[in-house]
Symmetry: C2
């Protein structure tokens, strides 16, 4: 049984869609137990309205609301009785295996950082590892938006974390790692990417070189390494494209149409995983509907069950940042 703590008040359409998503997740997955953290009476009323009487959901009273613009660290300090902080605190106590919130993503990140703790000192903020669609197969994007202005060595750590993610979660053997850039040649792009290219050549990943925006869409790499800034632009463009496509064409009832919807609907991805933490913290989309929440709970359980966080941490720990390339000549 995998236990997933879920912030009942997180997201633009909470708590109704959160409760509905939780019910659907446990009804469809006998191995998942959801701990709904929120105002007890309201959450229980919501469950009753849906006629849920099973034992797949526990409610933990956490009445404080968290606004989308509240200062992340202040939320952790002052809003200990919020659903968001409670669902992370329960994981810290070992009572759940994963924590999910569609609420204030900065506050979720701060809660995970301060309560679960970093597994290492490589990242200023835990990079966001996100499953994204391509024309071919789902791939992992790191970082989808936590960091900015990274050093080249940090991009290498993204590559290592992303590879461990793709191997563990998808079972891709030796996932192909591409550095998102503006040309294939190694001297292309911003200075930090040129430096990262050189470092990636000798990093313990299957580095296939630079990939461009079109290669990303075509699924040329299994792991896309990118600054958090560019990764965020990419992620939101992918969402925008799906949304536009649906507005223009609706659901196309052919094999291709069903394949497109299954992979490109960002709700199916469920949530993004914070990497480099001692635990499993998932950020779901702010505008999640019930389906997105259901999928977020499912992927949270899969992340926890397949041990993605542990594998990422193990790989990152194996890297010495300043390993000498050669024995010193004078030794």
């Amino acid at each position: 049984m995998i236990k997933v703590a879920l912030d009942a008040l997180g997201g633009d359409f909470a708590p109704d869609v959160v409760i509905e998503g939780a019910v659907n997740a446990v009804n469809k997955n006998a191995n998942i137990h959801v701990v709904l953290c929120g105002p007890e009476a309201q959450v229980k009323e919501g469950l009753a309205k849906l006629g849920y009487t099973g034992n797949g959901i526990t409610v933990v009273d956490a009445p404080d609301p968290v606004a989308m613009d509240e200062h992340p660290v202040m939320v952790v300090k002052k809003k200990q009785h919020s659903g968001l902080v409670t669902c992370v605190a329960l994981q810290k106590k070992g009572m759940v295996d994963a924590s999910v919130s569609a609420g204030n993503s900065g506050a979720m990140m701060a809660s995970c950082l301060l309560l679960l703790g970093k597994s290492n000192d490589k990242f200023a903020r835990p990079p966001i590892g996100c499953v994204i669609p391509t024309a071919d197969h789902p791939v992992i994007l790191v970082d989808a938006g936590a960091n900015v202005d990274e050093r080249a060595s940090t991009l290498v750590d993204f590559a290592i974390a992303g590879s461990a993610f793709a191997e563990t979660y998808f079972g891709y053997p030796q996932p192909k790692v591409g550095l998102l850039n503006m040309g294939e040649e190694e001297h292309k792009g911003p200075a930090v990417l040129q430096e990262a290219y050189q470092l990636l050549k000798s990093a313990p990943v299957n580095f296939i070189g630079n990939i461009e925006g079109e290669d990303l869409i075509m699924g040329k790499a299994d792991v896309i390494v990118s600054s958090g800034f560019t990764g965020n632009v990419v992620l939101k463009m992918l969402e925008g494209f799906f949304e536009m496509h649906h507005k223009m064409f609706g659901s196309i009832d052919t094999e291709a149409g069903r394949k497109f919807d299954a992979m490109w609907d960002y709700r199916m991805t469920g949530g993004a995983l914070l990497l480099g933490l001692n635990g499993t913290g998932i950020i779901a989309h702010g505008r999640s509907d019930a389906l997105a929440i259901e999928k977020a709970v499912e992927v949270a359980a899969k992340y926890a069950e397949s041990g993605v966080a542990a594998k990422v941490n193990e790989r990152l720990a194996a890297i010495k940042d300043e390993a000498p390339a050669e024995p010193a000549a004078e030794a």
Copy 2:
């Protein structure tokens, strides 16, 4: 009559598709004359094969080929008898109004820089202004890939150039300028974008603030300001979306499908304009087919006719880089 010089050997499928595109462009547009620059006998043979006997095309002998990996500046110096350099040199002499190549884009940029010259000293390299599709209407992206690691003030110059482009070419009054970023708030994103945000507030453009990847797709801004690096990723993702859509669904024969194809097919865009030059230099797509070349010739003529380059230069010249914000107190 607008005269467009076209590099007959430029592009992956040259010269056949280039000659065909030129013929189609002049057959459909009585006001366009194309000067095809390439190996004379080969080009004339190509025209004969297509049965073209009109007087809309002149051939200028320029026999030297330019490889895709040749050093840009060396091309300008050593390959003066190439189609690429010749089509820019003809503009310098006032014999044509615009120059188009689908060949080595670095060499095309160097030819334009060295032969036509910069209109000002604001840009290290002429930014690429590109018409891109959205869910709503075509918009201008600056820079689509010429520069990297720009200063904040350079991004402001992109905004000014892009606004002049959108006003002159599309007739958009007071085009909405969006800064491509990873959040709406002004303190979001890389340091250079935070600085650019502050500068854009008082720049002579209709600045609407940060826009995200999804807003870009939805057409929230008329001018997208972005580093050349990010702009290149964006442009190639847009091309990838169209290609993937077509592979999955083909041409969808509905009103929406025809609208999508008309706007999202990157061949329809024709070519991107180099900004901040004393002249009209257009880079067409390396894998252009005959349709893409035809459209590149058409947009080149439109750029020249509507005076985009002149308007961009006028606006850039009006900006003093270090204008004092207030009269000095001690004066």
